[in-house]
Amino acid sequence: MKDINFIPTDYAGKIAKTFIHSPLTLTLGLFILAIGYLSLEIMPREENPQMVVSGSTVIIALPGASAKEIQKIIVNPLERKLKEVKGVEHIYGRAMDNVGIVNAAFFIGEAKEGANLKIYDKIMQNADIFPSGAMKPIIKPLDIDVDIPIVSIAFYADNEKMSKTELYDSVKKIQHHINGLENVAVTELKGGSKHQFNIEVDLNKLSGYNLSMGQIKKAVASLAYNVPATKNTSKDNKIVILGVKNALDSIKDINNIIVAQYMGSVIYLSQVAKVSDSYDIQNFKKALIKVRDKNGEFSSFKEQITLSVSKLQGTNAVIIADEVKKELLMYKELLEKNGIHYVITRNDGERADEAVNELVYHLVLSIVIIAILLAFVLGWRESLIVTFTVPAILAITLFVAYLSGQTINRITLFAFLLSLGLLVDAAIIVIENIHRHYHSKESAHETPTELMIKATDEIGAPTNIATLAIILTMVPMAFVGQMMGQFMKPIPANVPVALIASLFVAYIFTPYLAVRMLKRPDHSDKGEE
C-alpha cells in the first residue's frame, strides 16, 4: 500500500482512506450486487403491501326472537363485553330477527394472533351471559391473507345436458389437488349444486291419504341410519363380522319406504311424493358467467362454479398463481372431453408481477437518464461511477428489506423510485468535489489518492448532516397510523436504509473507482479553476 500523508478529519475521509487501496473493496462490491440480485429474485412479490388488519365477528343465533329482543339480550351485552378488550377500535352490532352479529375491529396494526385470542377468550369467559335457548357463539376472525383469494377460476359446462351436480363433482376433485399445492392456504367453491335426494310431497295426495308431514319425516329418518359392523367370534375362535346393510342405497329404496298403513293396505312414499336423485333445490344462490366465444361474441349465461385460492402470509403470489395455472393445465384435456371449460377470472400473481416488472423497468430507465445527464455535465467516466453506486445502494436496501421480512410490492418499489433521486446525491456530491479538485491547478501537486481522500473528506461533514436531515424527515412518517400509515409503511422503512447505504457506498466506492478510472487533465499550459 502506498503511503498516504493526508490525515482525514471526518468519517467520510477515514472510510475512503481505508478502502481506497484495499483488495477487499472489489469483492465487497461484487458481493453487494450479488445479494441484491438474489434478494430481488427470492423476495415474495405482491401487488399491495401487507396490511395488519385484525378483527373478529361473533354470531349468536336465538331462533324465534325479534330484532328488538336480540338487540337487548344478545347484542348489547356482547358489545359491552367486547368493549373490555384492549386494542378494539370500533364495535359494530347488528340485530336481526333470530340472530345477532357483533363485529370488533381492532386498531390497524394490532397483531392478528393476539387479537383473535383476546376475542375468543372474552367470549368463552362470558358464555354465561347469553340467554338460554341461544345457540353456541360462532367466532369468525378476519384474516386478510387467507380471506382474500389471489386466484379465482370459473368452471362452466358447454354441454347443456350435463347434470348440475356433475360439474360440482369434477371441480371438487380439482379443488383437492390445488389445495395440496405448496403455500396454498384456503380453496373455496362458490356456486354450483350439491347432490341431494329430494322428496317433494304433493299436498293434495297427502290430504287424500289423510297423512301428515311428520309421519313422512319419521318414516324416512328411521330408515336412513348407518350402523357400524359388529364383531363376534365363532366357537372355534374365528372372527365373524356382521354388518347391517344400509337400508337406503338408491332412489328405489327411498321410493319404497312405507309411510303408513291405511285401511289394511300400505302406502309407499312414491304414492304421495316425487323422489329424485338431484341437486339442492332449496339453495337460492347461483353463479353465472358469460365469456366471449371464438368470434368474439358473448355466449348466453352459463352456470359456473368459481374456485378461489388464497395463499399463506408472506409467500410469493406470483409463484403460487403459476403453480395453480400449471396444475389446471394437467386437467384441461380431461375436463374438455367432458365439456367443461374454465377461465381464470382473477390472477393477482400476474398483476403483482406486472406491477413489479413495470416499476423495475422504470427504475432502470431513471438510472439511465441520470447517467446520460451526468455524462454531459461531468464526463462519462464520472457518470459511470455514479451509475454503479445506484445498483449497489439498491442492492443493500433490498437485502435489508428481505431480512426484515418485507415483500416486493408497489409501495416498496415506489419507495425506491422516491429514494433514487435522493440516493445519487451523496455520490454526485463526492464525485463533483473530486472532479473540481482534480481539475484545479491548486491541487496539482497532490497524488491522486491523497486528493481523492481530501475531496471526500471535505464534503463529508455537510453530506452526513444533510443525509441525516433527510432521514429525520422520514422518521415521523413511520408513526402515521390508520390504514394509510400501514399502506405507506415501506416508504419510511426503506428510504432511510437507502440513504444510509448511499453514504457508505459514496465514501467507499466513489474514491475507489475514481482513482482508477478518472484521467487527470494536464495543467502545465492551461486550466480552469
Binding site: 347484542v75 359494530y92 347488528r94 340485530a95 336481526m96 380471506d147 382474500i148 379465482s152 362458490k190 347432490h195 341431494q196 335426494f197 310431497v201 304433493d202 299436498l203 293434495n204 301428515s212 313422512i216 324416512v220 336412513a224 341410519y225 327411498i254 311424493a273 339442492d280 332449496q282 337460492f284 344462490k285 347461483k286 358467467i289 358469460k290 349465461f301 377470472t345 430507465l365 445527464l373 455535465v377 461531468l378 415506489f414 423510485l417 422516491l418 433514487l420 433521486g421 435522493l422 445519487v424 446525491d425 454526485i428 455537510p462 453530506t463 444533510a466 441525516l468 436531515a469 433527510i470 424527515t473 422520514m474 415521523p476 402515521v480 390508520q482 390504514m483 394509510m484 399502506f487 405507506m488
Partner: protein, 560 residues
C-alpha cells in the same frame, strides 16, 4: 456562467433594495400558493385518486324481502348493457351471495351477503395497456346508463359500482353516521340526509344502510286449542318449516360422491306456493296441512292457529354501543371534501324546520328534534374521515420533521439564526408543490388532486432543500475561515460553486420523479418532487444567500 451568477448574487445580497425585492416576491408567491388551496379551490385535495384497473364489480341490492328471481331480472338488465362493451372480456354474476372477496368487498361486507335480494357482478376488462379508456372513466360513463335503465325495474333497487381502491379500502367515499336513541327517528333523519345527498352535485351510488320495511305474515297460535287437541307447539313449528322451507331430514354416506348426500323433504313446488300474497291464500294453504295428535287423529292446522299481517322488523345497527344508521355515497371523479361541505351546508339550511342544529367537532352536527326533544348526531366517516385523519397525521409528521431538522441544525451550527434560515428556506418548497399541482391540473383531463402522497413528497422535500442550504452554508463557512473572505463575497462565491452540485442533484431528483408523476397513486408525490425541487433550488440559491447576509455570520460561525 457561474462567474456571472456569483457577481449577480454578490450585488443582490448587498443592495438593500434588491434584497427587499427578492424577499417580498418570495412572500407574495408563498401567500398566493397558500390561497390556491384554501379559499379558491384551485387545487383540490383528496386522499388518493382513481386507479386504472382491469376489473371492477357492480353490487346490486334490491329492497329487503325481494326474491331471487326479481334480483336475477335486474342483473340481466345490467348485463345486457354491459355486454355491448367492447373491452369486456368476461362477466360473472353471483346471485344471492358476494363475489370472491377482494379488498373493497372486505370493508363493504361482501363476505356476509347471504340473501335473495343481493347480487354481485364481476367484470374483467382487457389489459389496461391495450385499452384506451381507463376503468374509472368507463365506470363514470356506464353508471348513469345502468342506473337509469335498471334501477327502475323494482322500487328500492340500488346499483353501485365498486372499483378496486388505489390505496387502503374504505366503506364509501362519504359516510354520514346518524346516531340516536330511537330507531324511528334515525330512519326519518337518514332518509332526509340521503335526499340531501341525492341533490348534491358529484355524489352517486347513494345508499342507506338499513333494511326496508315490507309486509310479512305471522301465525298466531291459539294456546287453548293446542292443549285441548293434544299436539305440541314444537310439532306445529316443525310442520310449517318442513312444508314450506323444507329440511334435510337425514343424510346418506356415499362412496360415489364427495360429500354426504342429504335427504331433503319438502312440499312440492306446485303444492307449496300460495296463489296470491294475501291473508286468505295463506289460510287456504294452511288448512290443507294436517297434524297428527297423540290419539292419532288428524287436525287441520287452521283449527289451531290464526294468521295476521305484520310489518317486518328491520335490522338494528349499532356502532360503539350506540344505535345508528349509515347514509353512504360515492363520489363521481371528484374530491369528497367539497360535496361533503355542500351537503353539510344544505343540512344546516334546510333541517332547521324540525331540528335545532348545533355544530360539534370539526364538521359534525348535533340535531335536536324540536317536537320530541330527542337528540341525534350526524358524524362523518368513510374515506373523508380517513383522509382527514391521514392529512392531520401527515401534517403532524411534517411538523415533527421540521422540529427534528431544526434541532439537528442547532446541534451542528450552534446558532438559532442559521438553523432558522435553513428551515425557512426548506419551507418555501411548498410554493413549488402547490403551483405544480395547479399546473398539472391545467394539463390533465381529469382533476389532478393534492393527495396524501403529495404530502409525503413535501415532507421529503424539506430534507432535500435543507441539504442544499447546508452545503451552501458549510462552504461559506470554510471560505470565511480558511481563506479569510469577507461575508458577502464568501456567500456569493459559495453559491456559485455549490450551484453545480445543487443543480445536478436537483435534476437527478426531477428525472427520477418524472416516472412517478405518471402513476395514479404516486402522481402527487412525483409532481411534488419535481416542482418542489425547482422551488427548493431557487430558494437555496437566492433566498437563503439574501437571508444569510442579513445576519452577522462571523458571530454565528464563531470566527476569532
Amino acid at each position: 456562467m457561474f462567474k456571472k451568477f456569483e457577481n449577480f448574487i454578490h450585488k443582490a445580497i448587498q443592495s438593500s433594495s434588491q434584497r427587499k425585492l427578492i424577499l417580498i416576491v418570495t412572500l407574495i408567491a408563498f401567500v398566493l400558493s397558500i390561497l390556491m388551496i384554501a379559499p379558491s379551490k384551485m387545487v383540490l385535495a383528496k386522499m388518493l385518486p382513481g386507479k386504472n384497473n382491469d376489473t371492477f364489480n357492480i353490487y346490486v341490492t334490491l329492497a329487503t324481502g325481494s326474491s331471487i328471481s326479481q334480483t336475477q331480472e335486474v342483473t340481466s338488465c345490467v348485463s345486457a348493457i354491459l355486454t355491448q362493451e367492447k373491452e369486456l372480456r368476461d362477466l360473472e354474476v353471483f346471485l344471492g351471495m358476494g363475489s370472491p372477496l377482494d379488498f373493497a368487498g372486505l370493508i363493504k361486507g361482501s363476505q356476509f351477503k347471504n340473501s335473495e335480494n343481493v347480487a354481485e357482478l364481476v367484470l374483467n376488462l382487457t389489459k389496461k395497456h391495450h385499452r384506451d379508456e381507463p376503468s374509472y372513466l368507463m365506470v363514470q360513463r356506464l353508471r348513469p346508463i345502468v342506473q337509469s335503465q335498471c334501477q327502475s325495474l323494482y322500487k328500492g333497487t340500488k346499483i353501485s359500482f365498486v372499483e378496486p381502491p388505489a390505496g387502503p379500502p374504505t366503506m364509501a367515499a362519504i359516510v354520514a353516521e346518524i346516531y340516536g336513541d330511537n330507531a324511528e327517528g334515525i330512519r326519518k333523519l337518514s332518509s332526509r340526509v340521503s335526499d340531501v345527498f341525492h341533490h348534491t352535485d358529484g355524489l352517486v351510488d347513494i345508499d342507506i344502510m338499513q333494511d326496508d320495511i315490507f309486509d310479512t305474515f305471522k301465525i298466531v297460535v291459539n294456546n287453548t286449542k293446542i292443549v285441548r287437541s293434544g299436539v305440541d307447539i314444537e310439532q306445529l313449528n316443525n310442520i310449517i318449516y318442513l312444508a314450506f322451507e323444507g329440511m334435510q331430514i337425514a343424510v346418506k354416506n356415499s362412496e360415489l360422491y364427495n360429500d354426504q348426500v342429504p335427504i331433503y323433504l319438502s312440499l312440492s313446488k306446485e303444492s307449496k306456493s300460495f296463489t296470491r300474497k294475501d291473508l286468505n291464500a295463506i289460510k287456504v294453504k294452511l288448512g290443507a296441512l294436517k297434524l297428527m295428535n297423540t290419539q292419532g287423529i288428524m287436525i287441520p292446522l287452521t283449527e289451531l292457529v290464526s294468521v295476521i299481517a305484520e310489518k317486518s322488523h328491520p335490522m338494528i345497527l349499532s356502532k360503539n354501543l350506540h344505535m345508528m344508521s349509515n347514509v353512504m355515497a360515492e363520489t363521481d371523479m371528484v374530491s369528497q371534501v367539497y360535496p361533503l361541505m355542500d351537503a353539510r351546508e344544505t343540512i344546516l339550511e334546510n333541517f332547521s324546520d324540525t331540528y335545532k342544529i348545533k355544530k360539534i367537532g370539526l364538521f359534525n352536527l348535533q340535531l335536536t328534534d324540536k317536537e320530541s326533544g330527542k337528540v341525534y348526531k350526524l358524524i362523518w366517516d368513510g374515506e373523508m374521515e380517513v383522509t382527514l385523519d391521514t392529512f392531520v397525521e401527515l401534517g403532524a409528521a411534517f411538523i415533527a420533521a421540521l422540529v427534528l431538522i431544526f434541532l439537528l441544525m442547532v446541534v451542528y451550527y450552534k446558532s438559532y439564526a442559521i438553523s432558522g434560515i435553513i428551515l425557512l428556506g426548506s419551507f418555501l418548497s411548498i410554493i413549488g408543490v402547490i403551483v405544480g399541482h395547479f399546473v398539472m391540473d391545467l394539463f390533465t383531463v381529469e382533476t389532478f388532486f393534492l393527495t396524501a402522497t403529495s404530502l409525503i413528497g413535501f415532507i421529503a422535500l424539506i430534507g432535500i432543500s435543507s441539504r442544499n442550504s447546508l452545503l451552501l452554508i458549510d462552504y461559506t463557512k470554510s471560505l470565511m475561515i480558511n481563506k479569510g473572505m469577507d461575508q458577502a463575497s464568501a456567500i456569493a462565491h459559495s453559491a456559485a460553486t455549490r450551484a453545480k452540485p445543487i443543480f445536478l442533484t436537483a435534476v437527478a431528483i426531477m428525472l427520477a420523479s418524472t416516472l412517478l408523476a405518471g402513476d395514479a397513486v404516486f402522481g402527487g408525490l412525483g409532481v411534488s418532487l419535481i416542482f418542489g425541487t425547482v422551488a427548493a433550488v431557487i430558494a437555496s440559491l437566492l433566498v437563503v444567500p439574501v437571508l444569510l447576509n442579513i445576519i452577522d455570520l462571523e458571530k454565528h460561525f464563531d470566527i476569532n
